[in-house]
């Protein structure tokens, strides 16, 4: 799909065509996004909301247009979209802002497949408030154990925070079902959707989540921009996280009152260029269509799963079938560390990630040091999969397994 729009893909790595399969880490940017960022600086650079001159009006308009596009993209209201610098900050903002509802002994439910960014903030808050962390385990097929979830989520649960698509396993979790379990117990339901929003049509009303966090850079947008979606009534009880400029209504020497939602959560000058460029990324995705993107992802994943089965010594770390599975394929080769696999693949121009993928607790549960991960996105093709498989065979030969 439109490889020509992505200048970075034209280069050669070690004399070979670049086959970029590290999309779960970050996606590449189309020219429209790259240009939008520099056009802001070259044509209407100014601080949003602060002044009344023409440049400021233009910048503010463009900035807010992105908020509108994102709201439509996930079926939310504009004021429910808060800009952050990424999923990690979004989750920290949610955790810190909800701290005040927790009492000693209250329970926070997570899963063992969470990224560090959806574990560490909760650990800190649990320590501070004397709350208890509970973890939903996984089954042998690398899926959430929903029978266990039904027992773990209880009247003691105040917050449930779950990853939509595991960045380490590729598993798509049944978030609608978990939302029901959480709400039945009057718990707040938060989704880490960093891997889901880039390739799935998400409707926050249909999923019925209270908060949803994601990053621009995994969906063709720039780094340093993220979103925390919150239901309006949830944002009313969220305490602000960044105190300072623009987030206030009135400041006296000894006290302050807050601006309206969502601005009360956007203290300090925002990544204006990044947010504006993110709007172009959303336009690009809308032009292709999320259904088409999902179909392409599914086809490539199915094809790659079939092909990888023919490579000796490779064990897939993730659901074995292509159902409820995203375009992330994690695998382990006995006798080869993921770093060595990824370094050898790089020699063939194939970019993948090797390691624990910021999921150290999950790797401990699985009793492996890490995995090698190939992840696909809109510009990948079946030819890319073929190059990857051949490079993988070659890498294994080096280690004479």
């Amino acid at each position: 799909m439109n490889q020509n729009d992505f200048p970075i893909l034209k280069q050669k790595i070690n004399g070979k065509r670049l086959v970029y399969l590290d999309n779960a880490a970050t996606s590449h940017k189309p020219l429209s996004v790259i240009d939008a960022e520099s056009n802001y600086y070259g044509e209407f650079n100014s601080n949003i909301y602060r002044s009344l001159h023409t440049l400021c009006q233009k910048a503010t308009n463009e900035f807010e247009k992105t908020r509108n596009k994102i709201a439509k993209f996930i079926n939310a209201k504009e004021e429910e979209i808060i800009f952050t610098k990424g999923t990690t900050e979004s989750l920290n903002m949610a955790a810190n802002g909800l701290k005040h509802i927790l009492k000693k002994g209250d329970e926070i439910v997570l899963t063992v497949m969470e990224h560090h960014s959806n574990i560490v903030p909760w650990q800190q808050i649990a320590k501070e408030k004397g709350a208890v962390l509970k973890f939903i385990p996984i089954t042998k097929d690398y899926r959430l154990d929903m029978d266990a979830a039904k027992k773990i989520i209880s009247k003691k649960t105040k917050i449930v925070s779950v990853v939509y698509i595991s960045n380490a396993l590729g598993t798509i979790n049944p978030v609608k079902e978990i939302a029901k379990l959480a709400h039945k117990n009057n718990a707040i339901f938060i989704i880490d959707a960093a891997q889901a929003v880039p390739g799935t049509k998400i409707d926050v009303k249909d999923v019925d989540c209270d908060f949803l966090a994601f990053s621009a850079h995994k969906m063709l947008g720039p780094t340093g921009v993220g979103v925390l979606y919150g239901k309006h009534k949830m944002l009313e009880q969220l305490t602000p996280f960044n105190f300072g400029g623009h987030m206030i209504r009135e400041v006296t020497l000894n006290d302050s009152t807050w601006n309206e939602i969502p601005w009360k959560f956007e203290g300090g000058t925002q990544n204006i260029a990044g947010v504006i460029a993110f709007g172009k990324a959303i336009e690009y995705l809308n032009d292709i269509g999320m259904n088409r993107i999902k179909k392409n992802d599914e086809e490539l994943t199915g094809y790659a799963l079939e092909q990888i089965k023919n490579v000796k010594n490779v064990k897939i770390i993730g659901p074995s079938d292509n159902k409820n599975r995203s375009a992330i394929i994690s695998f382990h080769i006995d006798g080869m560390h993921p770093h060595d696999v990824s370094e050898l693949l790089d020699r063939e121009g194939v970019a993948v990630r090797g390691g624990h993928h910021c999921c150290m607790p999950l790797m401990k549960v699985l009793k492996i040091p890490g995995t090698t991960r190939a992840s696909f996105y809109i510009y990948n093709t079946k030819e890319d999969v073929d190059v990857f498989i051949e490079a993988l065979k070659k890498a294994i030969e080096v280690f004479k397994l």
Binding site: K10, N14, I34, S38, H337, G370
Partner: protein, 144 residues
């Protein structure tokens, strides 16, 4: 402006590999597959060191007597570079005075490995030295 620039130049960025860039040389793979000194020994100092970005992990065991390393071993897991590194380094320090062990420099480790270490691999290459130094320091703190 941007578009033109990228279209013109992006095809030109190219990197190449030469024979000396091959880090998976026979001796590295030998040490990785058949590590020397692997397993816990009787020791009076031990320490676990991690490489947090990639999860390489080394626990070093040292038996030190009269300021000399009488015996050295390790347990752990990680990439070929980190594991071959500690396999070689435990060989090297056996019998050495701990004051000489403390003088081992990063460059000495690169020389010992005999391969070109790229920036992302520096931490893998130096994890062995970090672990050995910590274990020696640990011994000194407890014995002084």
């Amino acid at each position: 402006m941007n578009a033109e620039y990228f279209m013109k130049h992006s095809g030109e960025i190219e990197t190449g590999l030469s024979e000396e860039d091959n880090i998976y040389k026979e001796n590295i793979l030998d040490h990785y597959k058949n590590p020397h000194n692997k397993g816990e020994i009787k020791h009076n100092s031990s320490i676990r060191e991690l490489n947090p970005t990639c999860g390489d992990e080394i626990t070093v065991f040292l038996e030190i007597k009269d300021s000399k390393v009488k015996d050295a071993s390790f347990t752990g897991h990680g990439c070929a570079i980190s594991q071959a590194g500690i396999s070689m380094l435990t060989d090297k320090i056996k019998g050495m005075n701990i004051n000489d062990v403390k003088k081992i420099k990063n460059e000495d480790i690169y020389k010992m490995l005999g391969i070109k270490i790229t920036v992302p691999r520096i931490r893998c290459a130096l994890l062995s030295l970090k672990a050995v130094n910590s274990a020696v320091k640990n011994y000194e703190i407890r014995n002084n």
